[in-house]
């Protein structure tokens, strides 16, 4: 009923065992490198390598086919368009580039746990943290909350659609989205309260911000509480 929330396929191949940060770094470098090269003599082997990497993952064929339909459409249509509008040489270059990237990315995506990728991203963000533009703990919380509330939003969307259908309305996007957004906004207050009530942010994150206790969010103060004054405007 709810969508499956990860592309990761458990397994024990060399790529599964490889460290997530290595895999992602290689992917990133390949992504840049491939656009610096035009020669099919270089790009061809690259694409071959990517294909081998993907096959080494030993995905069940049916699942692999399903994962490849998206990239396949791109791989078929983009070079075709390039051949028609540009030249055959461009078509080959473009085709091999995308082939390399899409297959390699799929290989990495299938073999790396979401949590591991997020760990790497969080570590990559850490240097930025010193600039005070990024708060790694906040990013971590945002990702977790999003994962928690994607299925919840999905349920709510259905529930609202159902409740409307049960009451005779079907399919007006405005009538559907207004209550969804309002419910999400409304629950934000309770969720934030629940997060605060469990002592977020964690101590490490608090030290990175200046002054320990200052990092505690200023709580709602009535009669014009930070979290609630919004509602009063409704009157």
């Amino acid at each position: 009923m709810t969508p499956r929330l990860s592309l990761y396929l458990p397994g024990d191949t060399p790529l599964h065992r490889a460290r997530a940060d290595w895999k992602l770094s290689v992917l990133l470098l390949a992504g840049i490198g491939v656009f610096l090269v035009r020669s099919p003599a270089v790009l061809g082997p690259c694409a071959g390598l990517a294909a081998v990497a993907l096959l080494s993952v030993r995905t069940p064929p049916r699942q692999l086919a399903r994962h490849l339909t998206g990239p396949f459409v791109v791989l078929a249509l983009v070079p075709a368009a390039a051949a028609v509008f540009q030249s055959a040489a461009t078509a080959v270059t473009v085709g091999l580039r995308l082939c390399t990237l899409l297959l390699a990315a799929l290989a990495v995506t299938l073999t790396t746990r979401t949590s591991d990728i997020l760990d790497v991203l969080e570590r990559a963000l850490r240097p930025l943290e010193r600039t005070r533009l990024v708060n790694a703990a906040a990013v971590g919380l945002a990702v977790s909350l999003a994962l928690r509330f994607i299925p919840e939003a999905f349920h709510r969307f259905h529930d609202i659609r159902e409740a409307q259908a049960a009451r005779g309305l079907s399919g007006s996007p405005v009538a559907l989205l207004v209550p969804l957004a309002v419910r999400m906004l409304k629950s934000a207050e309770d969720i934030a309260a629940a997060v605060d009530a469990r002592c977020y942010p964690p101590p490490a994150a608090r030290h990175t911000e200046r002054g320990g206790a200052a990092a505690a969010p200023p709580p709602a103060r009535s009669p014009a509480p930070a979290g609630r004054k919004d509602e009063e405007a409704t009157g």
């Binding site: 009923m1 709510r156 529930d159 609202i160 159902e162 409740a163 409307q164 259908a165 049960a166 009451r167 005779g168 309305l169 079907s170 009538a175 209550p179 309002v182 419910r183 409304k186 629950s187 509602e231 409704t234």
Partner: protein, 225 residues
């Protein structure tokens, strides 16, 4: 109204939440009790096509919920366990009017029907309040009023008294008792079931007891607590 379930199984993922249920529901007041996770809400949602059976069929007055969901929903009102899902418009009065507009009730009649329903529940003072700023119990009353104002033929209530105080619980109890319609009530509030015609006890997706409340409720208390 007659609801029939024929060899119904519902799965979420690989877990069977309801298993091979065959039932006929036609009594005016039916209670549905059972442990947490036993499948009560799922069964309730089958009755108006909010959940469709993986195997088997559910028929409401002969209509298959998998095929005629729209027609069925017009006749089967549903009060959700969490009233937040149900309240769709920002002002209480508008929310009650919402369903009426959709089913083509003449505009002139709408305000009066809304007022009458609110007054009937003793919540006329909430009419102009923003629906999202109500207390839990207030919301539950509004959600029930919004369904009843549409005068469905069968009302399915999923734990309608959970958040209510004594007075409001009595209001709902009386309201349900006074309904001219058939009602199916899912509840953990066993007192609610006195005077019902039939009580089903669910356990792990199966009906393990089916009878008069006088017998079914003590049976449940003995076997399940």
């Amino acid at each position: 109204m007659r609801v029939t379930l024929d060899a119904v199984t519902v799965r979420f993922g690989s877990r069977a939440v309801l298993q091979d249920l065959t039932l006929e529901l036609s009594e005016p007041r039916i209670g549905l009790i059972g442990a947490n996770g036993s499948g009560k809400s799922t069964l309730a949602r089958l009755l108006n096509g909010l959940v469709l059976p993986g195997e088997g069929t559910v028929r409401v007055d002969g209509l298959d919920t998998a095929e005629d969901a729209r027609a069925i929903r017009k006749r089967v009102g549903f009060v959700f366990q969490n009233p937040d899902n149900q309240i769709v418009l920002p002002i209480v009065r508008e929310d009650l009017a919402f369903g009426l507009k959709n089913t083509g009730v003449p505009r002139r009649e709408i305000p009066e029907r809304v007022e009458r329903q609110l007054a009937h529940f003793g919540i006329a003072h909430l009419a102009d309040r923003p629906s999202h700023a109500l207390s839990g119990g207030e919301k539950q009353l509004v959600a029930l009023a919004a369904v009843l104002v549409m005068r469905p033929e069968l009302v399915v209530l999923d734990e309608p008294t959970t958040l209510l105080d004594l007075r409001n619980r009595n209001v709902i109890r009386a309201a349900v008792a006074a309904l001219p319609q058939q009602a199916v009530v899912v509840t953990h509030d066993l007192d609610l079931l006195t005077g019902y015609d039939r009580v089903l006890v669910l356990d792990e997706g199966r009906v393990v007891h089916d009878g008069k409340p006088r017998i079914a409720v003590p049976w449940y208390v003995e076997h399940c607590s």
